[in-house]
Amino acid sequence: MTSQNTVLQRAAAQLEISGLSKRFGPDAPLVLDNVNLRVEQGEFVALLGASGCGKSTLLNLVAGLEEPTAGELKAPEAAFMFQDASLFPWLTAQANVELALELRGVGRQERAEQARELLELVHLGGAGRKRPHELSGGMRQRVALARSLAQSRDLLLMDEPFAALDAITRDLLHDELERIWRRTGRTIIFITHNVREAVRLGQRVLLMSSRPGRIVAEWRVGDGLDARDRAELSGEITTELRREIRRHAT
């Protein structure tokens, strides 16, 4: 590793996965095959792959929503953000965030205060009393982001959280997420099938193969890259992704 990563080297590993495999049922094909991954504290990792390659499965394993078939996985309890906001429709935005605090054991009085602060953080200070259906898709995802921050866990898993949003909103949420990541120092694993999104957000971009899912390539995205460098890197990663997809053509 180069010298710019000394900070990362000093940090403790947040997540360690070795030889992880997963199949759904004894006769089902391998979805994940021998996945190895180490994520440092405070790192922003973008996990890139074609649809159906097993990205969600990997994240679900990390979150403890599925059991691995083989391999080892050392992960702290993680916060999770899904593609659909998955807010509870019977609760207001504020109450959705408060529920996460309550399930974490935060006392009643602090809950209201903290939830308000978290909504402020995602620029939704005025929308606390709204129900999810009264919010736009982007606002819902920001409430979901506030809710996952309310879990106060070092590791934040995000499964294509912006995939269903329009491009303008998505661009904005990229800025928002980056700002919050810098401010809160969370470790983030961000799943996407969008190369530009991966390069935009990740310090590290991991490429997954399909059937079975493995991590086949890795790029570091330096902090100093300008728009042209990023476009170039995106091109390179796209080429690799397409080669990976073409392998399945026969």
Binding site: F82, P89, H123, R131, M139, R142, T169, L172, D175
Partner: protein
């Protein structure tokens, strides 16, 4: 241009603008549809009374076979005038509501238990579904043998009618809870109890309310059946008893009046109790557009 060099304030402003553009516009006034909604059933009712009256005029059936609207209105008026209508309505409503509440108190924990426990559900599920299909009138003879001509007979029949449908409503409400909600609950760190009370129950509420509504319908029907069959003893005199009395006296105007009263109570409870609760619930979850039924 690199967006991430924008200051936080810029992002906040941009977002505020987008939020304003994208958020749902507040619904327009719902007054016109509401008037239309009230008007149409009234018109339908008027049409039925009109056809009824035409039939009386043209065919001229014997009044003791089919009385005309005016005869029935007169019968209703005299029932109301001497207080018989109010008394029977109150008696029946009191039993129906009390029986329904007891049924809800029994069926709610039972339904929760069955929805959470696979073995119990496999064992009792079919039985309960069967009971829901069984007309609760079938319990009347047994109830009379067990409890005699007392109110206990009536309540027993009401419970046998209402409990299974409330249980089934709750179970199907729980079944329809999106699995994603459970995953979110798990990720948020909910334990089993919190999962049940904070996520499954509220998520299942629409199905549960549906079950309660059906439970009320079954309560009311069972009650009327029980009141028609079992008259006398220490039993109060309800709408079903009035109906039966009309038949005994061969007074068709009273029979029709009693039927209309039974129908009206059912409609009033639906309109005043269940419809508003259901509407509020669904609207709060965005499952109903403002102004829709």
């Amino acid at each position: 241009m690199r967006l991430d060099t924008d200051s936080g304030d810029d992002v906040a402003q941009l977002e505020a603008g987008l939020d304003a553009l994208q958020a749902e516009q507040p619904g327009r006034s719902a007054v016109r549809p509401a008037i239309g909604k009230a008007l149409l059933p009234v018109l339908a009712l008027a049409a039925i009374v009109y056809v009824w009256q035409m039939y009386i005029w043209i065919v001229q059936p014997r009044p003791d076979i089919l009385p005309g609207p005016a005869d029935v209105a007169a019968a209703l008026g005299s029932l109301w005038g001497d207080g018989a209508a109010q008394e029977t309505i109150l008696t029946s409503l009191e039993r129906g509501v009390l029986g329904f509440l007891i049924a809800a108190v029994i069926a709610t924990p039972a339904g929760l238990l069955l929805s959470q426990h696979k073995g119990l559900r496999a064992a009792f599920g079919p039985l309960i579904s069967g009971l829901q299909v069984l007309p609760s009138v079938a319990w009347v003879p047994a109830a009379i043998i067990w409890f005699g001509l007392t109110d206990a007979t009536v309540y027993f029949v009401v419970l046998m009618g209402a409990v299974p449908s409330i249980i089934n409503g709750l179970i199907s409400g729980v079944d329809q809870v999106p699995p994603q909600f459970l995953r979110v609950g798990h990720v948020l760190g909910a334990n089993r109890w919190q999962q049940a009370t904070r996520i499954i129950l509220p998520a299942a509420l629409p199905g549960y309310i549906g079950g309660l509504k059906q439970g009320w319908a079954f309560s009311w029907r069972s009650l009327m059946a029980a009141e028609i069959i079992t008259v006398g003893g220490s039993m109060g005199f309800g709408l079903g008893s009035l109906l039966q009395q009309g038949r005994d006296l061969s007074d068709m105007a009273i029979v029709v009046s009693a039927i209309l009263l039974i129908l009206a109570i059912g409609i009033v409870i639906e309109l005043l109790v269940f419809a508003p609760v259901e509407r509020r619930l669904l609207r709060g979850r965005g499952l109903l557009k403002a102004g829709a039924a």
